[in-house]
Symmetry: none
Subunit: 192 residues, 4 copies
Amino acid sequence: MTSPASSGRRSRRSHEATLAAAFELATEVGYAQVTIEGIAARAGVGKQTIYRWWPSKGTVVLEAVNEKVGSGIDFRSTGDVIADLTGQMSAVVGLLNTEMGDIFTGLIAEAQSDPVLTEAILDTIVRPRTRECADLLKEGQRLGQIRDDVDLDAAVELLYAPLYYRLLLRIAPLSTDHVADVLALAFRGLRP
Amino acid sequence: MTSPASSGRRSRRSHEATLAAAFELATEVGYAQVTIEGIAARAGVGKQTIYRWWPSKGTVVLEAVNEKVGSGIDFRSTGDVIADLTGQMSAVVGLLNTEMGDIFTGLIAEAQSDPVLTEAILDTIVRPRTRECADLLKEGQRLGQIRDDVDLDAAVELLYAPLYYRLLLRIAPLSTDHVADVLALAFRGLRP
Amino acid sequence: MTSPASSGRRSRRSHEATLAAAFELATEVGYAQVTIEGIAARAGVGKQTIYRWWPSKGTVVLEAVNEKVGSGIDFRSTGDVIADLTGQMSAVVGLLNTEMGDIFTGLIAEAQSDPVLTEAILDTIVRPRTRECADLLKEGQRLGQIRDDVDLDAAVELLYAPLYYRLLLRIAPLSTDHVADVLALAFRGLRP
Amino acid sequence: MTSPASSGRRSRRSHEATLAAAFELATEVGYAQVTIEGIAARAGVGKQTIYRWWPSKGTVVLEAVNEKVGSGIDFRSTGDVIADLTGQMSAVVGLLNTEMGDIFTGLIAEAQSDPVLTEAILDTIVRPRTRECADLLKEGQRLGQIRDDVDLDAAVELLYAPLYYRLLLRIAPLSTDHVADVLALAFRGLRP
DNA sequence: TAGTAAACGAGACGGTACGTCACGTCTTACC
DNA sequence: GGTAAGACGTGACGTACCGTCTCGTTTACTA
């Protein structure tokens, strides 16, 4: 992600106003209805200024989202892996059940036809958290709560994928109960 | 999905030409670049004729896709649940690794801001196959290959979600090996 | 004008309903907003039926108008030419100041790009009344109220043109006073 | 009429290209067949750019016409009113007998259902020339060639209306002879 | 009195143009 | 010299009607 404040000359206000406007609009009218023109108008900023620092509306909104979310859904390690996972995943679910859910699905949708945005999402969201989660699972292996021969990246996918699946395909609403069910099933396995 | 030929009066040629054009364009230029105008022009059909029978480009393409795929990825029951699952899921992966993959992700992307399309996807793809898969798992329970207390719908999600997750987030390419890994992990579980 | 009732087979009701619908719509929404589809729908008649008997919406409305107007604006001869002219022209002005005025200007407007309609208007309205008026003027010559060497067709134009001029260019509203002014000026001439 | 070059920011090329295209198309295919899309395509200009500066095709063509005609049909005062009128009216007739005639009738036709265009035509064509003509007639009164008690606006209508009448109702072609006849009749009057 | 052909209502069809929206680029005037 | 403002060419949108073309379904004349 470009960092306007540092690289360019005069910017600060425009930069912040743009991100704020993008986030507000996304929550007010829904991600799909947000336009660059709308952001510029709301922010009191020229369109060109936005295009100077971001390549697409998706990357603007992504930066705004990342700024808002901050460290609200970090992992915590207490020695009980399942409890730690339940906590973090429940926090994620809580977040996705706010207006943030629509913004998230909107970003992923847009990323399907925008490789730059795809990469940005992976870089700023997916990979960092995957790494954190994998670290937690590794700690779980050390503590004997997870099999030693499990591929940790695959395990992370097994745990998180069901959340995205329900979210993107609208199978059913996400909930804390669902998180518990997924964890229980993933840890125990299907086999008798 | 509306069935033009039956409900209104005449159609056949227009109906088929529209679906064919939609599918061809989607594979040629990519789902996101397909437009109703493009479909109409390619099919030699008036735009209004398309709007008469489908509410959006998404539903047109979905119908075209469903027609093409047909029974190519049905389930088969041989008495070995893991083998049956491996077979069907590998077929799905094979399909998603063709141009069909892009069309699929395009449809799901569009569905994020189009409830009608969401419902159509669930109705024609997700729910039917979920049911088939659940039936297979139930057979697995009868044969003692799956625990009796497993919630089958949750199990289906656990198996398929990782595929969609990789596909939509571009974590990594799908492959037969990946299918095997997911199945092994899901059956065995993370617990030591 | 085609005469549906006689030539074709079964028709009467459709014929009348079409004319009635055309006239009603023209007065309700304005001539320019009338469409063949609208007439057909209002009349409970198929579009094809309209196209079978009339070549354009203009000719339909023209026939409807002619039927309505009937003999309401005929000439009368009393021996006082100026009085007779005043009477007839005032009747015309009265008619043009109703919704009929808009229909009339609409027809003339459409006729600018439709030679068939032009001819129909000339045939059913302009030429018959021009002839009647010329006859009246000839009677005026016989009575010594009009110069013998005046070209009667030119005289008719001199009298009626100012009405159409005001009507079509919206110079000013038509009125009985205006009729009197025009007649006075035309009879007296500009010369001292 | 809006003046693009001045009010908004940039324009010149688009403005001129639009007017040129509008005029060319009107003369080539006929006023009624001109479309905004056609003008935009011919001018190499976006449709929106046209809609930004003009409310309808009529006003575009009107501006193009006014620009072309310029001062070609102004009045001249030589001391002989009838000669001056004959000269100007013949010039008008000459103009209306070119492709300009069709454009003119097209504009007036369109104005029947477009008050904005009506006003524009009155403002840029009818009222200015009516005033010029009235001034000439007033000079005629001063010179004793026209009665003192004649209402000049009514007189202008009496002279010009027959031209429009013939033009719009296609009674007969316009000609210099016709102009002479109208003037002779209008000056002499119908009375013996 | 039944059979049949036309005219009929309904409305789908391929088109054309509409007027609007947002895109991403470009230009101008201001601070 | 970076900005806001917004004009520009472009291209797609979804809508309205056009005039033509099937569809069954009535009639009303013939045989």
